[in-house]
Symmetry: C2
Subunit: 346 residues, 2 copies
Amino acid sequence: MLKEVMNVKEYNRKERILKLIVEHFVKTAEPVGSLTLIEKYKLPYSSATIRNEMAELENLGYLEKTHTSSGRVPSAKGYRYYVDYLRDDTLDKNLKNQIQTIFDSKSMRPEDLVKHSCEIISSMTNLVSVVLGPDSETERMKNIQIVPLDSSSAVAIFVTDHGYVEHKAFVIPKGIEIKDLESTVSLINDRITGTPIASVVEKVNGLKPILKERFVQHELLYKTIVETFVKFAVEHVSIYGRANIMNQPEFKNDVSKLKNLISLLEDDRMFDCLPNENDINVKIGSENDESVLDDMSIVTANINVGNNNCGRIALIGPKRMDYSNVLNAIEYLQQLIDDFNDEEEG
Amino acid sequence: MLKEVMNVKEYNRKERILKLIVEHFVKTAEPVGSLTLIEKYKLPYSSATIRNEMAELENLGYLEKTHTSSGRVPSAKGYRYYVDYLRDDTLDKNLKNQIQTIFDSKSMRPEDLVKHSCEIISSMTNLVSVVLGPDSETERMKNIQIVPLDSSSAVAIFVTDHGYVEHKAFVIPKGIEIKDLESTVSLINDRITGTPIASVVEKVNGLKPILKERFVQHELLYKTIVETFVKFAVEHVSIYGRANIMNQPEFKNDVSKLKNLISLLEDDRMFDCLPNENDINVKIGSENDESVLDDMSIVTANINVGNNNCGRIALIGPKRMDYSNVLNAIEYLQQLIDDFNDEEEG
DNA sequence: TTTAGCACTTGCCTCTTGACAGTGCTAATT
DNA sequence: AATTAGCACTGTCAAGAGGCAAGTGCTAAA
């Protein structure tokens, strides 16, 4: 079994070959043959030896053939092994510089730094990036403000403890004084400050009796609040690189695949596809839940500022993605965001 | 010249043929031949007669051939003539019902009604729809609010007279009391209430001397305001149907076209492509400014609630789009939005 | 254990071919 | 003068044939 060597720095020959095949295939998108391998990478073996090794790697399930006489392509298991044991820690210098430059400007909020960085990562790796805003579990209510617009309408503004803002305009029912409205809101404010976003609806539900007493149109108010907070999660999403991913040869002759992906991105069910398990998570091909993603991979990562989680990012693309570079870029980004915060504090 | 008949209800034979060719091609995306035409639409002429007419229509510039022995396809001029004089006013019943249903629910803000409707129009016509938020010319400042988050940071919230909200978190520099901040903001509020969004930056610039006097970190405050209002226009854009448009046969075998379109949608230069001239505007093919759009058409329309313009919508797709249906859907939507507003007022 | 050698497989490109859908033109018909 | 029948011609498309390139597996020798 290959995995026995997981703690050893030096890779054995099978591993070296697997690593080269993954890396070559990632670059070229062409099945890799024994001759290509020894010519490009100056391996000190004959093609026959390599062929034997490749045949064994195929038996073990790490490689696949597209047809009987083709070169080899990594299987999902092969990619998995590569990600877990073989990838190295060099980050493309150009990419590193560009991310660095974004952080040097300093004029931005952390969330915007993340967005810009993902845009860059997207364009340099030809992957789609998804930036998810605050998590409704960790984000807490700060307060609600009411701004009257004219005699009959107002906008309610909801602020969270990390400075996220949601808003909703509504019509003030006849017979309601703005002053009454304001005092009611201040009453609600007192009770829900500090409540996690995910529980706000529940909490406001508990306040219904008090509202009913003080405010004739309590149903409307309740509805407004619920609608706004249901929206919360959905709205804080940015997607970059939809066009870039079309550079991937996987999609060059297959619009239907592309359509499935773009549909998924337009759809709420995308959220179910983004694992939230570890700090950094890699789902390769059919490890994903949606069958649409059977030949795609998703890398997700939490973005923490200090101890606070302030969102998540995901990179989505063909299974044949440059896992080393992507993972290293993400780790670099995580680290910069954390450093950025320290500087702000100090 | 065909256009002589523009005021006549009855179309002459050339016009009937042009209309049929446009409508058939819109449906099938296949060049239309003389035989197809008489078989499908029971024209009381022989194929030779139709061929003669088609040859003349081609000479006049209304039709084109894809190759010498192919059927005919409408030229840009042909579509233009169709849109101006030949389209009829039936709106697909299914589409009409679906839009109606959205408005019946009544639980939404006008902007959300528009968004939902465009989503539906998009999915039923396989076009991309773009919903533009408030125009920075017509939208005016209502006020600025400051919400402290903790001892060192706060979020500034900007509200317009129609209830649009923008926000920006910032760090409170050391040595600044929240009270000072609040009084400064109230000072600014007094001076900029009613200013169109587009002029806010300018106006605040004029206040610089006063700010400088009262507020040490006036540069930071100024920068914050500028950044927020530059963002204003960009943020209020929703795009629907990126996946739907891939159903269009024009894109089935041409990912590069698709890429150009999706790139354009991700890009700020898209705004320059959406004409803002008339109430409803149709740009066909090379009538568009961007050469990327040479074989695309864009229909834009203003959305007014009462006398207030509250945004614009655009539908983007291949030149071969169902102009009748799209234009009728938009007119229907405009009318519903206006009625909706009357009900609210009354 | 490694390698040289060789027969074999498959994909892909090009070329050809025939069917098909459509045209333009001419001559005949109304 | 307008319409139509008839026919030669043209370009597309799909299917099939042949050749080439890249790759394999296996056997036997080093």
